[in-house]
């Protein structure tokens, strides 16, 4: 009886006109992720209670898996601000189909990164010191301010999605509040874009300003090293690709069509164009660094690649294999119209950005700067991996609940009655751009 009541309540919260799996099936889907979240909470708890000696980081490897993951998921979550910018500022109306999903992904990525950062610092209770005693010259100050502000913007952007829930709409106050919030959406999109541009950039600047680490150090414009701009372009390029991957993955898991092909096509185009710009900028930056910046600091660039396994293959993989190749695929209409090309290309672009963040964080710290110091390696401890898996599980759970109870893909109802076009047909191109 209670079980039946529970299922009835569950159904009442599901959006009208869409089909969702049964309550027991949904609970079954949640179980492994909840288990992983608990494992993550236990791992993080150990680090908070016993200290960072639970990790395999050390005085040389001051940053490890968590910073790499933070930088990567913040880049992948860039779809939230960039899609908002394209939709509300540049008026790409087609993207309305995925904006809610982008906001949920952004919220998950940013809040997950913040949670991991709180475990990563030695004195998390002193986090407010950064706001009280800010060092305006530090890129980390800029990152902290912008990410905190943008996370607040994301929470405000997420609120209308929640308040549009079928059951919550019954409360008149919520409806009015949601309506009023929606009026702010253009302001929020603008503020979000501004903040995101800055924090994506300052995350790049984080390593680019390290004069004492010639592998990471880059010249730039005024106070911003070139990595500041490269991180912005790469995040904007890969955000839509990650949106393609996640939408496709949710389609596969749920067995439903969630967005029209023209939306995928538009996202792929945008990603392809920006990725091409990024590959070009990254190539020029690498050449300047090899020929001028690094030798100017007394370090020949070739020496970095003598320390195995970080050979020159990593440059090739980053710029060509995971940069140029997916950019060309995403720019070719016939190829991007086919999922068999589109999804691997989008995934490859995401991998390329992850590799770039890995190189920036891990390779920089692995390389010795003193001539008599050693090249060191690092393997994360199970507590570090556990915390990361906890963040992953948290993301999946928030997305799962949002997908079940909120209208994440507005085109879903419409597409339910449409016949899916054959994969081999002519590519469906977006109406504009």
């Amino acid at each position: 009886m209670a079980n039946h009541m529970f299922q009835q309540i569950d159904k009442e919260f599901i959006t009208r006109g869409v089909r969702r799996c049964s309550t027991p099936r949904f609970i079954l889907w949640l179980v492994p992720w909840v288990a992983l979240l608990l494992f993550g909470a236990y791992s993080a708890g150990l680090c908070l209670v016993k200290g960072l000696n639970q990790t395999n980081m050390d005085n040389r490897y001051a940053f490890g898996l968590w910073i790499f993951v933070d930088l990567t998921i913040i880049a992948l979550g860039a779809g939230a601000f960039f899609t908002g910018f394209l939709l509300y500022i540049l008026k790409f109306k087609e993207l309305k189909a995925v904006i809610n999903s982008a906001v949920v992904i952004g919220l998950v990525c940013y809040s997950g990164a913040m949670a991991a950062l709180m475990v990563d610092v030695g004195q998390p209770l002193r986090a407010w010191f950064t706001f009280w005693y800010p060092n305006v010259h530090s890129m980390l100050t800029e990152v902290t301010f912008c990410i905190s502000c943008y996370l607040t913007v994301l929470l405000i952007e997420y609120l209308p999605i929640v308040l549009k829930n079928r059951k919550l709409r019954d409360v008149p106050g919520f409806l009015v509040f949601e309506f009023e919030l929606h009026k702010l959406i253009y302001v929020l999109a603008g503020v979000g874009t501004f903040l995101s541009f800055f924090h994506q950039g300052s995350l790049g600047g984080l390593y680019g300003v390290l004069r004492g680490r010639p592998f990471a150090f880059r010249e730039g414009i005024f106070v911003w090293p070139s990595t500041f701009f490269l991180f912005i372009i790469s995040a904007a390029a890969v955000g839509p690709s990650f949106l393609i991957c996640t939408t496709w993955l949710v389609e596969k898991i749920t067995g439903k069509r969630l967005a029209k092909d023209r939306v995928f096509d538009l996202l792929a185009r945008i990603s392809g164009i920006l990725l091409s710009v990024y590959v070009l900028a990254k190539t020029i930056d690498t050449l300047i660094w090899i020929n001028r910046t690094s030798p100017g600091l007394g370090f020949t660039a070739s020496q970095y690649y003598d320390w195995k396994p970080f050979g020159t293959w990593i440059l090739f993989a980053e710029i060509v294999l995971c940069g140029l190749v997916p950019a060309l695929i995403l720019l070719t209409p016939r190829l991007r119209a086919r999922r068999a090309w589109l999804i691997p290309a989008a995934a490859l672009a995401c991998c390329g950005i992850a590799l770039n963040r890995y190189v920036q964080t891990v390779q920089t710290l692995a390389l010795p700067t003193l001539s008599f110091d050693k090249f060191l390696s690092y393997t994360p401890s199970w507590q570090e991996v556990g915390t990361f898996l906890g963040v992953l599980a948290y993301g999946v759970l928030v997305y799962s609940f949002s997908f079940r109870y909120f209208q994440i893909f507005p085109e879903e109802r419409e597409l339910k009655i449409e016949v899916r076009p054959q994969q081999e047909e002519e590519p469906v191109l977006a109406g504009r751009f």
């Binding site: 200290g51 960072l52 000696n53 980081m57 050390d58 005085n59 040389r60 490897y61 001051a62 940053f63 990563d120 610092v121 030695g122 004195q123 002193r126 986090a127 010191f129 950064t130 009280w132 005693y133 800010p134 060092n135 010259h137 530090s138 890129m139 980390l140 100050t141 902290t144 984080l206 390593y207 300003v209 390290l210 004069r211 004492g212 680490r213 010639p214 600091l297 007394g298 370090f299 020949t300 020496q303 003598d306 320390w307 920089t364 710290l365 010795p368 700067t369 003193l370 001539s371 008599f372 110091d373 050693k374 090249f375 060191l376």
Partner: protein
């Protein structure tokens, strides 16, 4: 403007380390730990997670057999110039360069433990408190009351024995002077070195032994090409030792110094 109004010119404290005199005994490391309340290594600590504000590296010339030569290089915070790489990166101003002394200071009470300064330091001279500081029973009586032990989760490093600087300043005030008597301010490592390999003093004062030694032809600073303007000067008459100041060359390890 402020500097012009000061009666006493700003000091620029620094060190000279004669590598040819160092025999790697580690007295400097022990004296430093005792003076600055650096706790003993926790169970489970490694040479990569332990705390030591000064670390003696053993290097060799890479040759085999009778041609093999070794030397010992003490490495501590190099107290870089006003644009020290660790200062600008700290998000909450827990690191600073004292304009009156040139000493790069670390405020553990304000440190967030983000370790960004450690990533920024090319000399790997900053250490994180991975464990709670603990001393074996009875040893806490040996703690220096002038220096506060640091808590878990913060970064620490050499500060040229700041406790001693305070004591010397207090002594100067008691004597009715505005300037510290150089004899009153000597870091523990300098005092402990049995071979007199380390000298400390005001690099701006040409009368000091340190200032003279810093400008000898065989003196060098680590990684000068990075432009960090360190205040630790090393000295050696051996060419292969002086080469350690340059960037690492993994492909030519045999020809250059090795750690």
């Amino acid at each position: 403007m402020i500097a012009e109004n000061k009666k006493t010119p700003a000091a620029r404290y620094g060190m000279t380390i004669d590598v040819d005199r160092c025999n790697g005994c580690g007295s400097c490391m022990v004296a430093c730990a005792v003076e600055n309340n650096v706790p003993p290594a926790a169970a489970g600590a490694t040479d990569r997670t332990g705390l030591t504000w000064i670390r003696v590296f053993k290097i060799d010339n890479g040759a085999e057999g009778a041609d093999r030569r070794s030397a010992f290089v003490p490495v501590l915070c190099q107290h870089c110039g006003k644009d020290a790489p660790c200062v600008s990166v700290c998000p909450q101003q827990a690191v600073d360069v004292d304009p009156a002394t040139g000493i790069v200071g670390q405020m553990p009470e304000r440190c967030l433990g983000c370790r960004y300064c450690m990533a920024a330091c090319p000399y790997h001279a900053r250490y994180f408190n991975w464990w709670d500081p603990a001393w074996p029973a009875g040893m806490e009586k040996t703690l220096n009351p002038d220096v506060a032990p640091r808590m878990r989760g913060v970064v620490e490093k050499c500060n040229f024995c700041h406790g001693r600087w305070h004591a010397a300043k207090a002594q100067a005030v008691a004597n009715g002077k505005t300037e510290i008597d150089p004899a009153d301010y000597i870091p523990a490592c300098v005092e402990a070195c049995p071979n007199g390999a380390i000298h400390f003093g005001n690099l701006n004062d040409p009368a000091t032994e340190t200032a003279r030694a810093a400008h000898q032809p065989d003196s060098f600073r680590m990684l000068e090409s990075l432009g960090t303007d360190p205040k630790i000067y090393y000295h050696s008459k051996k060419n292969w030792v002086r080469e350690i100041s340059a960037a690492p060359r993994p492909g030519t390890a045999k020809e250059t110094a090795r750690g």
